[in-house]
């Protein structure tokens, strides 16, 4: 097959990346309209279910190697300080301690993850590797640090006051917002604030590094094995193929685990020096101090509209509490992209604070911004006296309002219609009640990217026993991508998904695969897997054609059999593969570029029904209707689970999750799961989930991403439902009983 280099654009969480990639010509036929796609589109249980339910699934934290050292990090207890004394030699003298790294030490070609000027409580100062965790802890205790404690910033307002920005504030203008706002028939001003949400993946950030003469292997709980590889290779001056990154099973990430992180860099440096494998695992508290968070934000909107509810202009400001690192995510994207609006001014100020570095968290920026803008839009609807769904329809746009480019597909209007039907939107005013418990129903729109893109490569092999393997260069953080790969190969090979082995999570097996993030993974890899499987199918049918003397075009693969279309031939596929001996048939596939001149986006609509006890202030989410356009659905079972996960994390965000910082010390007071509340099984509402998107006609296989979409509109819909129930708006998430009672003036 001929390969060529192509230039392609991919949108990664709102940032457009231009990449050159090698792609092969793809002659895989598309699904024909109405033709069976089985098992694509049918519910398929996870292929790794047995490993996950017997405890044999090996996560990074489970990796134990002979001679393994355990590493423990010394972290600053102060929000801002200088280390004035640190006894590295005392730590080295502790029995069992094998290696100690102090401030400034680390891989030769990378900035040290260790500092003597910790700028947040939890910043890493030193690390000790020892024979046992106890010895490492004793080594850390022996470091006996002393600090000069400095002033700190722990709120967005203080940081803004000091004009201390992580990056320069930005302004984006469309049209003439000043003129349009002053001419507008109706204006609405609205402010919303959201707290820092902590990821709390149940598997903490972790790495195990094994430095050998012939190369370095790092087991890393990472969402991007290839990014992890290049970071490590660069940091140590190694060639990428001298580094192997392994992530067999992963216990969640939600955006916080791109690359190898400081765990990988420190474990590798310790292993290089100690000549022993080293494991470094964050504790839960370290996780919540130093491993990232969804940025808190304060959002202000001034909306100008016509009397009949058409958006004329929006001026919006977002102040984002960045902490000491990370990048500002597009909090004002919903203002820019969801509705037609000719005039905009969007200002974003990423404020530095003495808190850990922020990290992407499922739909970073966009989820927070949707929470603010979709509620502000409801305020406008109320002011002009229009139904909330109607005002969204009224401001619908068929092209990207910023660039004017068309979308490859957009099922948003359909999503409004279906969601309204499923939720019983018409009867919503009858819900409210006038007793102690009030009910309300609220809506919000969802916008996200999700095209994926190259590079993404797949290989499919089949041998004698006709049990195929699919190899892909990605990692499955729990989303079910590997199962989806098996489903896709199964359709071409006619062999049940459960009999297909998927190899992933190992950079030494195959070329680049997508990171697990940005709702890009499956949309990137799906066409590559199908292409590789199709190539194997073609070879099998070619051999069968010779063997049975029937034209290959009259043969098909189904249920483990080779069948002729006229039904006269039915032979097990092993009739052909059995002749392979020790050889195998293999096929490769690669992801082609996205279409030029068009935007690929996912869309959706959610409607939440809530009950609020006006006596206690407790809000219960009773029902969420989630309707999304994600193109073709590969595995509805996995897709529903993704929706449940997104909705539930958003319920946490809306009702209970909030990092609390002590204003007198700048330290996080709820870094443990006892005080930082996440939803439990008791918080799960009824969720009605439907996918209304047709397969995207401009993408191979028509698949768009799903990781982020379900989390985006839920909290906004809950906010709108609460306002509907109470007749007052709460401006600050989470909507805790205290805030509800305050809003009621109780």
């Amino acid at each position: 097959m001929t390969a060529k280099l192509v230039k392609t654009e991919a949108v990664v969480e709102g940032r457009t990346e231009v990449r050159w990639t090698l792609v092969e010509e793809d002659d895989t036929p598309e699904f024909e309209d109405g033709a069976p796609t089985r098992p694509v589109g049918e519910p398929t249980p996870r292929i790794s279910a047995r490993a996950r339910t017997t405890g044999s699934a090996r996560y990074t934290v489970d990796v134990a190697l002979p001679g393994l050292l355990e590493a423990v990090v010394l972290r600053s207890p102060h929000a801002n300080a200088r280390v004035t004394s640190l006894d590295l030699d005392a730590a080295r003298a502790v029995p069992g301690v094998r290696c100690v790294l102090g401030p400034g030490e680390g891989p030769e070609h990378a900035g040290s993850p260790l500092t003597d000027a910790p700028a947040f409580a939890g910043a890493a100062i030193a690390v000790v590797a020892a024979d046992t965790p106890d010895a490492a802890e004793a080594g850390v205790a022996a470091l006996a640090p002393e600090y000069e404690v400095l002033g700190f910033v722990s709120t967005i307002d203080d940081g803004f006051e000091k004009q201390d920005f992580l990056e320069e504030p930005t302004e984006h203008v469309r049209g003439d917002p000043d003129a349009a706002l002053s001419a507008a028939e109706v204006t609405v001003e609205a402010s919303y604030a959201v707290p820092a949400q902590l990821h709390n993946s149940l598997e903490p950030h972790a790495a195990v590094a094994d430095w050998r003469e012939d190369g370095l292997t790092v087991w890393s709980s990472t969402q991007a094995i290839f990014d992890a590889r290049s970071t490590i290779a660069d940091a140590f001056g190694l060639e990428p193929d001298q580094v192997r990154i392994i992530c067999e099973f992963m216990g969640g990430g939600f955006g916080s685990k791109f690359g190898v992180g400081p765990q990988g860099l420190l474990a590798a440096e310790l292993s290089r020096r100690a000549r022993r494998p080293v494991r470094l695992v964050n504790s839960r508290r370290e996780e919540n101090l130093a491993a990232g968070f969804r940025t808190p934000a304060k959002m202000d909107y001034t909306i100008g509209a016509s009397r009949d509810g058409r958006l004329e202009a929006v001026e919006a400001t977002a102040m984002i509490g960045m902490g000491t690192g990370g990048w500002p995510f597009p909090v004002l994207e919903p203002v820019k992209s969801v509705y037609a609006c000719p005039n905009l001014r969007l200002m974003t100020a990423p404020v530095r604070m003495n808190l850990g570095p922020s990290a992407a968290f499922r739909a970073p920026g966009v989820m927070e911004g949707t929470f603010g803008f979709e509620q502000a839009l409801d305020e406008l609807a109320e002011k002009v006296g229009i139904d909330p769904i109607e005002i969204r329809r009224l401001n619908h746009t068929e092209n990207d309002p910023e660039s004017g480019k068309p979308y490859t597909s957009k099922g948003l209007l359909k999503a409004y219609e279906r969601a309204a039907e499923l939720a019983g939107w018409e009867g919503r005013d009858g819900l409210r009640g006038d007793g102690r418990v009030r009910r309300g129903m609220g809506v919000a729109s969802q916008y996200w990217w999700g095209a994926g893109g190259p590079p993404a490569y797949a290989e499919v092999r089949i041998g004698k026993s006709a049990r195929p393997t699919v190899t892909v260069g990605l990692q499955d953080l729990g989303t079910g991508t590997m199962t989806a790969c098996a489903v896709i190969a199964s359709e071409r090979l006619g062999i049940p998904a459960g009999e297909i082995t998927v190899h992933a999570g190992d950079t030494s097996r195959i070329g680049h695969g997508p990171a697990s993030g940005g709702s890009m993974t499956l949309a990137s890899i799906a066409p590559a897997v199908r292409m590789a499987a199709h190539s194997v199918r073609t070879d099998i049918l070619g051999l069968a054609a010779d063997m049975f003397e029937i034209a290959a075009s009259d043969l098909t693969l189904e249920d483990g059999e080779i069948r002729s279309v006229d039904g006269t031939l039915r032979e097990p596929v092993t009739e052909v593969t059995g002749k392979l001996g020790n050889a195998w048939i293999s096929g490769s596939g690669s992801r082609g570029p996205n279409p030029d001149g068009m935007n690929v986006n996912t869309f959706g609509c959610q409607i939440a029904q809530i009950a609020v006890d006006t006596g206690t202030g407790a809000v219960t989410v009773e029902r969420v209707v989630a309707v999304h356009d994600i193109g073709r659905v590969v595995n509805p079972m996995g897709a529903r689970s993704q929706v449940m996960g997104g909705v539930l994390q958003a319920i946490g965000f809306a009702l209970m999750e909030e990092r609390v910082v002590d204003p007198t010390t700048g330290t996080v007071v709820n870094a443990g799961l006892e005080d930082y509340k996440v939803p439990t099984i008791a918080d799960v509402p009824e969720v009605v989930c439907e996918f209304v998107g047709d397969p995207d006609p401009h993408l191979r296989m028509g698949v768009k991403g799903l990781g982020e979409p379900p989390i985006i509109p839920t909290a906004a819909a809950i906010g709108n439902a609460l306002a509907h129930a109470l007749g007052v708006r709460l401006r600050e998430a989470p909507y805790t009983p205290r805030r509800v009672l305050e809003a009621l003036g109780a």
Partner: protein, 150 residues
């Protein structure tokens, strides 16, 4: 300290320091890494195992205090555990799977105690097992289905 444990029916004799947790001993000394530790402070339920038939948080349980006890972990095999495995698979009761061993063991304890739990009883019994991926709906259905199949 010498500790004798029967783990999933197998006798073990171990020499453990008195301060070490049962979770740590299972994972480190016995390489039984199915039991997960997500918080090490009794707040998440990932480390749930059965100690003489009762669900306990093994991160908060001293191994040295378990002498002569029977321990059941996710690596075991009983008809009930197998039923739950099948049900978790059929109802997609997990995503990343990191909480799954703890969920399964809590479910075993529940169904041993209450073979036909109501949905409310399932929710109460399982509320101490956090799942950040949000697989609770599948977990609840799986526990109900396994009870039904029993």
């Amino acid at each position: 300290m010498q500790v004798r444990l029967t783990i999933n029916g197998q006798p073990h004799e171990l020499d453990v320091a008195p301060h070490r947790s049962l979770a740590d001993v299972l994972r480190t000394d016995l390489a039984m890494t199915g039991t997960k530790v997500a918080c090490a402070e009794g707040t998440c339920g990932s480390c749930t195992v059965l100690l003489d038939g009762r669900a306990v948080l093994s991160c908060l349980t001293f191994a040295s205090a378990c002498d002569s006890s029977k321990v059941a972990t996710v690596e075991g095999s009983t008809p009930l555990l197998e039923r739950l495995r099948d049900a978790f698979t059929a109802h997609d009761g997990f995503q990343c799977g990191f909480c799954t061993p703890g969920q399964l063991m809590s479910a075993v304890a529940l169904l041993q105690r209450t073979p036909r739990p109501s949905r409310a009883e399932i929710r109460t019994a399982m509320a101490g097992n956090l799942c950040r991926c949000g697989a609770y709906e599948g977990i609840e259905q799986a526990v109900a289905a396994a009870a039904e199949a029993g």
